[in-house]
């Protein structure tokens, strides 16, 4: 299938926060409660429609375990978007965000869009990190923020798609050089820059989903 752009995403965060489950929910629309530890990278892909343009999301689901951390860093390069995930029921996964963020900033493009995700929002009774804390962290570090549940699919679509919208917005503003592969963006096959969005292109009518369904 043709597409206007391909965006490379990485999913990072502590082990057990639900990175692979988020990907599975997004690509296959299903939830698997028990998942194998990820080693290396597992890939997922899905087409989304942003402002009438088909965009292919190529998603790199990385290992969260500390033992694989040095290897995970090598996958950051050339990512246009990152989903930085913590578990709202485990305070330590929130405390480690700074370390993950440092890695992401150090090993990827400065323009990379980072979506902070507080996952497992269905487990409200076990909540250990307030939503406001996630919002404050995101505000402080210039991230987008959402709480999601890979189990109920709440906000999962929105998290991936809103990240794509922000990348697309940056392309329109000329902040991303789409010809520089290091930015994690590729123009689709048989697409010329004239048919793709660029600086000055219409910035309205971004559709597909709202900014937050409010289900979490």
């Amino acid at each position: 299938m043709t597409y206007s752009y391909l965006f490379k995403y990485i999913i990072i965060g502590d082990t057990g926060v639900g990175k692979s489950c988020l990907l599975l929910q997004f690509t296959d629309k299903r939830f698997q409660p028990v998942h194998d530890l990820t080693i290396g990278v597992e890939f997922g892909a899905r087409m989304v429609n942003i402002d009438g343009k088909q965009i292919k999301l190529q998603i790199w689901d990385t290992a969260g375990q500390e033992s694989f951390r040095s290897i995970t860093r090598s996958y950051y390069r050339g990512a246009a978007g990152a989903l930085l995930v913590y578990d709202i029921t485990r305070r330590e996964t929130f405390n480690h965000l700074t370390s993950w963020l440092e890695d992401a900033r150090q090993h990827s493009s400065s323009n990379m869009v980072i979506m902070l995700i507080g996952n497992k929002s269905d487990l409200e009774s076990r909540r250990d990190v307030k939503r406001e804390e996630g919002e404050a962290f995101a505000r402080e570090h210039g991230l987008i923020f959402m709480e999601t549940s890979a189990k109920t699919a709440c906000n999962v679509e929105e998290a991936f798609i809103n990240t794509a919208k922000e990348i697309y917005r940056k392309i329109q503003q000329g902040l991303f050089d789409v010809h520089n592969e290091a930015n994690g963006i590729k123009i689709g096959p048989q697409q010329s820059i004239s048919t793709s969005a660029g600086p000055g292109a219409c910035q309205r009518n971004i559709r597909d989903t709202g900014s937050d369904s409010g289900c979490c």
């Binding site: 057990g16 599975l24 028990v34 530890l37 890939f43 860093r73 090598s74």
Partner: protein, 237 residues
């Protein structure tokens, strides 16, 4: 230290291979990977490389990566074959292409395992996973049926049966056997072996390595007691 994973840019000459056979029809994985390692900084020194447009052309996985969606992986030299995933008892499941690659020309041996398969929707190639070989063990599961066992350090394991034309299948499988031998015994001063010997060796080795793997898994579980590894639903293996 950041691994050299994405720093291999291949230069203008590539070693290409199709379905487990190196382009010149003579080289085995051992020498081919050595050729990669011997490129050195000039990319030419003492290596037996062939142009990318060699008659046999690249394999299915290599062609997929060359299509350009995976920039960082585009210029990897891949030794690959097509398989079907089978159960331990040989029942057929999914089509899988498995390859190994050296992420750097400085490496004497491959350090990455790649798995790919057709998409459910249209059968187009899809890269499923990229795994450092240091966390994967490969075994000969059933030599007579040309079956390999792939085992991750997390305990996940699956079986792959070579899918190739009857006239080339044995040769192709023997290249995997040679590769596994190289991966297993590299640097240990082991002498060359025959495939008949491998059968016994494999069993012993597998037992030993299963012990190692158990230790590995114990360590992982001690750290991550919450998680109970099962199959990866992401790619159905």
């Amino acid at each position: 230290m950041v691994p050299a994973l994405f720093f291999f840019r291949g230069i203008s000459l590539r070693v290409h291979q199709r379905a487990g056979r190196w382009d010149d029809g003579r080289q085995e994985p051992k020498s081919a990977f050595r050729a990669v390692g011997e490129m050195g900084s000039s990319g030419l020194a003492g290596c037996s490389v062939v142009p990318a447009c060699a008659p046999e052309g690249p394999g299915w996985l290599q062609r997929h990566l060359l299509s350009g969606e995976f920039d960082q992986l585009r210029n990897f030299t891949i030794f690959e074959s097509n398989f079907v995933q089978v159960t331990r008892f040989g029942e057929v499941a999914n089509k899988v292409t498995m390859g190994v690659a050296a992420s750097s020309p400085a490496l004497e041996l491959p350090d990455l395992l790649l798995l790919a398969g057709p998409t459910k929707e249209d059968g187009c190639p899809q890269l499923l996973g990229l795994f450092p070989l240091q966390f994967v063990q490969l075994f000969i599961h059933d030599e007579s049926r040309q079956q390999l066992k792939v085992k991750f350090c997390t305990g996940r394991a699956f079986y792959l049966q070579l899918r190739a034309p009857a006239e080339t299948r044995a040769l192709e499988f023997s290249k995997w056997v040679r590769l596994l031998y190289r991966l297993r015994f590299h640097g240990q001063g082991a002498v060359p072996f025959t495939q008949e010997e491998w059968g016994d060796e494999d069993w012993d080795e597998e037992t030993d390595l299963e012990d190692q793997e158990r230790d590995w898994r114990d360590q992982l579980q001690a750290r991550e007691a919450r998680l109970d590894p099962q199959t990866s639903e992401l790619w159905g293996l």
